[in-house]
Symmetry: C2
Subunit: 786 residues, 2 copies
């Protein structure tokens, strides 16, 4: 959605009777609502919401006049990695509710590959959100998670996601939503989570292609195989309360006006139909249907297209302004408006909005925000995600009070930089320098060269004075939200020349030297990897409020690193080989595309997806599940409504810590082999679990639950099938263990993907006229540089 | 140079003994300097500076130890359109010296086509600069002007230039430097002006091509014909005190390491050799020679390459850090270092740095800053540049106290937005709303949709409430420095969809409606031009401290507009037809380039270069200079050292105001015709002058001085020739008058352009190794998306 900085107050008018002032809860004990069935706790949410909407006049439905004693409600809260600054969230200036726990960005939490951690974090977020709500400082719907796969390393918002792999994201988001909403089907949801941005949204502004007008062309195979699984997990498997349609068009249709997406796939195919669920637009995405998408000839037709497609809530003002005329023109039925309102208000019923103090979360207070346990969890989340990419044996390294440490770079004394975007106000932001100072060592801190916009050498002279005196040199830099951000994709994935120059000069001192590579998107760190004078390289993402401590503790060994890269680290010239506008995953000889993600990339990554070192060595052995399976047998045991959810087997992996240092170990299960349609991916993640605190010399067992869907592959129509053929399950990126098996018999369809209407967009649908005679639709850039 | 925000303190170590603390003037009355010849006013600057440098030890030359009682001097002041925030400028928090006059950005001052205005503005700037200097709040060198031609509409820094035409820029910059320095060859320069960025610098970050590593490929014809004339005007014709070499490479050689540019062209060909002139690098551009340019294999070789090429001053720290080792390696001679220091200090002698109160400008005080006359001039500069692009007769329009005005858009109540970049602290910033409030009318103000990054409809509902009540609607929007900026080229030259939607909806009310198109780069305003419900369109650029008044006065007729577009307004899809990396001007069938600037563009512009309407009608007639000229005759009268400076003739143009409204009139003289090498440009500007206050029904005479160089054209080697053939002089863009004449005889060379060394860059010059064995030079992106 549109950029948010700090606390913003913005009318999210939508279809609600919400206004900006006078929030709080509705009064069911007295006043106009008292005798409305919406206040009858014995009834189901749908019945209650229907009763409320029945009492609305048409004007109220069109959001002209608030009445009925319904307080204002702002439908826009953010909580990407903690309760965050947003129109509906009001941090206090000081004292209670002036802060909220600020966890790492999802990209680093993804690197932990620890679903329980994610659920714990999400539970803290929803607890703090409820406490804010009780103090009238937040609503109850939160526009998190961003679960679009991080497909292209340039994407400015990849930091908001857990990574590039659709299985990983599906598993992660399930844990997250359960934590945010309080389980799969609780009586009262803790909060309403919102899966965004539906769908195929993963570009901000590359080379004249703006998210607001970009039309993503995606074939059914890539759509079902790559772009959809996280959303399927949200809707079908996690009962998320809300979806957000995106700015972009998909195959010619703006997503907020696309019944194929919002009705056929989301509601029908995934069964997201209990009417306690609604779709919101991204902010002004409905306006964008008219301009710049030019999808309908009039503004009235544009808003009607969105409402009729199933976009219930407008983050913007165009529903409010143009639905009345659209209704007069007969472009939608009032029943469709009613349905949208019922969906929104039944959702509020479901979070206990009308139920007063009977809702258990109503007893949460400021004392439940920023607790010691939450602080510890924020530290843990950072520590678990931090990923060791290079170590010549220097690490772990004690830092003692008799030592001198030089720390240089943009993150040396970072504070809010460590939060990334969509952040709240943290109780503290402990920088690497802060953490170093707490070791008692003598610490020199310098900012180093600037980022891509301003690589100045201002600080260099001081650095050269200090470097000879240092026992250890730490270079903490990379990228931050001045380089990768909402509205701002990267156009380089290399360290800047000034950064490499400074790193190279620091390395020439021959001291123990650690590089901390910070930021969400990866940088090509091959110059660091190949420099023998650089001892170690650690990727720290955006580690949040305790980021500096977690990073320094990783250097000293207080934290034994076990994070894994949740994205591929490509060579710097990867971005010259594929335009950001190419949505296809598979390599393509004609276009020259080397393919996308570790599953399809034909080149050699700098560091592979899932890569991460430890301070010890692990070995693994698989307890084989058997080497041959008849597809008919597997299906005969499958009784799930959605066949892909049926279990294949749970594979036990014995993991031994063959070294001395106690360490977590992320057990990654990749599947490869010749089965299903060619081309075949290099491999694909089908299971993972994180083992905790495996002590030196001991073993632990990882249980990898594999489903039939995990074995299945997607055909060109988007349907998922279980195919006969050879399968190889590999543990870890440089496999520590492997199990081969075969499936025999006829292929069976696990998921019959609904086909798009043909043609999906009629030529006559295109808006070529513009507003009246005054606007020549030709003049808008089509966004494609030839 | 690198971004500056507010007051920055940065060591510009360079070759000076400058430090950051304790500035002020050197003491020639007592102390160590007293008996040094640098304090002898009877000697010439070169002798004086040589004496000073002779007293330096080698360590002092290498900038290790300040001595000799020489105070700190910071070589980095900015004054693009008024004394500006920069490392060497220190505004007071309050009271005297807390503000400086803030003129419009050069792009709008360029639109005035009034060289006298430019000289007047520059004189105010140098006066205020001297007053700041006297209070120890600024140095005496200023890194202005940016005189690279505004070739591509995407360029984020085009706003800093007067436009796209090399003749216009050459004439403008001559007037500017005379104002800044106080004449062509004054005893004491007022300040040292710095022409930047030498050369072919006009891209920030397009599509992965960063200014720091970009290698511009320019042929000799385009170089001499388009990229060089403004710099030739600076060096050869205006005696500018300083040049700045740029970040980019030119034909393989980083400009700060290019002896062809800095020695052959600048110093030898243009005779810029009086040794009271020096070259500074852009900030960290010398570091960039090593990385990311990878032009030399070591840091020492990189700094030596810059010093030997003639870059005297390092804005950065690499001279200080690496010259000592480079000297030990024998990579440069101390005499070269001495020469650089002499150039810098003789320049300081020339501004009277050592001459105490004998310097006439030393009596300037805070009373000479922000005077009433300067305020009036800032208003005049804005008023003269503002350009009327469309008017259906609604304008001028009285705004009276009984009227209601709705003003909407990002510039409706703009303050610092009106300044653009490299701005100082203005005494006031009068927004359009401020000016409207002073009419006594009832004014509604709303921000309108955001820019490219955030086109939200937050403000729309309020607008729809107010629009029906308004007598007049003004929409003031466009782009600002969040869209076009240093480090940030545009990737759209269209209004955003949200802006066009709001404009379209406002127009539907059928009220008198004026659109103010703001910002430096042009936007495709064809939807506004073609909407019959929009009364008028005015381009306002960045109009500075009095911008709002000048804009509203233009609407009401208090100011009769006479500005002309100093750049072409291209259709929005122009940027899909030519990559920013294409440096060639001429159209190219192979690449598909439609050509650059009005001289070569083969398409139809939305508004042409030089376009601008008035509140009256003008007619013109040329007093013909004759219809045939023998080249031999013209040359026999030519006695200038530089033949291109010889006069051809002064053409008198009688301009009549055929209407009723008193108005200025910019007399533009374009030359076309078949002469010189094909292809021939559409036309080219060869003379201009602005007539002031021509009253209705009266006439005035414009004297257009034409030189042989103006008639001349440039061949493929870069040499300028006077060719036989047909010439047509046209007055104005839709010619009001035309004179045809012919030149006969043999072509004569006016300027024998020095040829680049062949090959200009040896393969062996390229740095392919990187730092030691640790860095594989291959990994840096070459910046070109295939």
């Amino acid at each position: 959605m549109a950029s948010i900085t700090g606390t913003v107050v913005l009318a999210i008018a939508g279809l609600s009777a919400a206004q900006l002032t006078g929030r709080g809860f509705p009064d069911c004990s007295q006043g106009p609502l008292k005798n409305n069935k919406v206040c009858d706790l014995s009834l189901d949410p749908l019945t209650r919401a229907t009763a409320l909407i029945s009492a609305f006049t048409l004007d109220e439905k069109l959001n002209r006049v608030p009445r009925l004693g319904l307080p204002a409600y702002t439908w826009w809260q953010e909580a990407l990695h903690g309760v965050a600054g947003s129109p509906g969230v009001n941090f206090s200036d000081h004292g209670p509710f002036s802060v909220a726990t600020s966890f790492p960005q999802p990209i680093l939490m993804g690197a932990a590959f620890d679903d329980q951690l994610i659920m714990d974090v999400a539970t803290v977020v929803s607890t703090e959100a409820r406490a804010f709500n009780n103090d009238d400082r937040a609503g109850l719907d939160f526009w998190t998670p961003n679960i679009n796969p991080f497909k292209d390393p340039r994407w400015g918002r990849g930091q908001e996601t857990p990574g590039e792999d659709p299985f990983h994201l599906s598993s992660y988001v399930h844990a997250l939503i359960l934590g945010l909403q309080g389980g799969l089907n609780p009586k009262y949801k803790r909060v309403i989570a919102t899966c965004k941005h539906f769908a195929a949204y993963d570009m901000e502004d590359w080379n004249g292609n703006f998210r607001y007008q970009w039309d993503a062309h995606v074939n059914s195979q890539d759509l079902a195989e790559y772009y959809m699984p996280p959303f399927q997990s949200c809707a079908r498997d996690s009962n998320v309360g809300s979806f957000m349609c995106s700015y972009n068009a998909l195959n010619g249709v703006p997503t907020c006006a696309d019944p194929y997406l919002l009705q056929t796939i989301l509601r029908e195919h995934w069964g997201w139909t209990n009417e306690e669920q609604y779709v919101t637009s991204d902010c002004d995405a409905i306006q964008n249907i008219y301009l710049p998408h030019k999808y309908r000839e009039t503004r009235e037709a544009s808003v009607a297209a969105a409402l009729n497609a199933g976009t219930d809530l407008d983050c913007g003002t165009v529903y409010q302004h143009h639905l009345p005329a659209a209704l007069e023109q007969g472009l939608f039925n009032v029943s469709t408006l009613d349905q949208a309102l019922v969906r929104m208000y039944s959702s509020l019923v479901r979070v206990g909005y009308f139920d007063g103090l009977r809702v258990p979360f109503r007893n949460l207070t400021a004392a439940d925000v920023n607790t010691k346990a939450s602080q510890d969890l924020a530290y843990k989340a950072a520590a678990e995600g931090i990923t060791l990419l290079k170590n010549d044996g220097t690490l772990p390294m004690k830092i003692t009070s008799d030592m001198t440490v030089l720390i240089v770079g943009g993150y040396a004394d970072a504070t809010t930089q460590m939060q990334g975007n969509y952040a709240g106000i943290a109780p503290y932001l402990h920088s690497p320098t802060w953490a170093l100072n707490h070791t008692g060592a003598k610490v020199y801190t310098a900012t180093g060269p600037g980022g891509q916009g301003n690589p100045t050498t201002d600080s260099w002279l001081a650095v050269w004075n200090w470097a000879p005196k240092a026992d250890v040199i730490i270079y903490a830099d990379g990228i931050d939200n001045s380089v990768e951000a909402e509205g701002n994709d990267r156009n380089s994935i290399a360290w800047t020349g000034a950064q490499l120059d400074m790193i190279g000069q620091l390395a020439e001192y021959g001291k123990p030297m650690v590089v901390l590579q910070m930021g969400g998107g990866q940088l090509d760190s091959s110059p660091i990897a190949s420099n023998p004078n650089i001892s170690a390289l650690i990727w720290g993402g955006y580690p949040g409020q305790s980021g500096g401590e977690a990073l320094i503790d990783t250097i000293t060994g207080k934290n034994a690193p076990a994070g894994r890269l949740p994205v591929t680290q490509y060579p710097a010239d990867y971005i010259t080989q594929i335009p950001m506008t190419d949505m296809s995953l598979r390599p393509n000889a004609t276009s020259g595309s080397p393919g996308r993600t570790y599953q399809w990339y034909t080149g050699t990554p700098i560091y592979d997806y899932g890569y991460g070192l430890h301070y010890t060595n692990f070995t693994a052995s698989i307890q084989s599940p058997g080497d041959g399976f008849a597809i008919s047998d597997l299906m005969s045991n499958c009784t799930e409504k959605y066949k892909d959810k049926c279990a294949f087997t749970t594979i036990s992996v014995d993991v031994k810590n063959a070294g001395a240092v106690t360490s977590d170990y992320v057990t990654l299960g990749f599947l490869a082999g010749t089965h299903g349609p060619a081309p075949h991916p290099n491999k694909r993640l089908v299971a993972y679990t994180r083992l905790h605190s495996v002590t030196g010399g001991s073993s632990s067992t990882a249980s990898l639950k594999m489903t039939l869907g995990g074995l299945g592959r997607v055909d060109e129509t988007g349907s998922r099938w279980l195919y006969p053929g050879d399968y190889a399950l590999m543990i870890d990126t440089q496999p520590l263990a492997m199990a081969n098996f075969t499936l025999t018999g006829d292929a069976v369809c696990l998921d019959d993907w609904p086909q798009p209407p043909t043609p999906q967009r009629q030529d006559s649908d295109y808006f070529v006229g513009g507003y009246g005679s005054s606007y020549d639709g030709q003049v808008l850039v089509d966004g494609n540089v030839p």
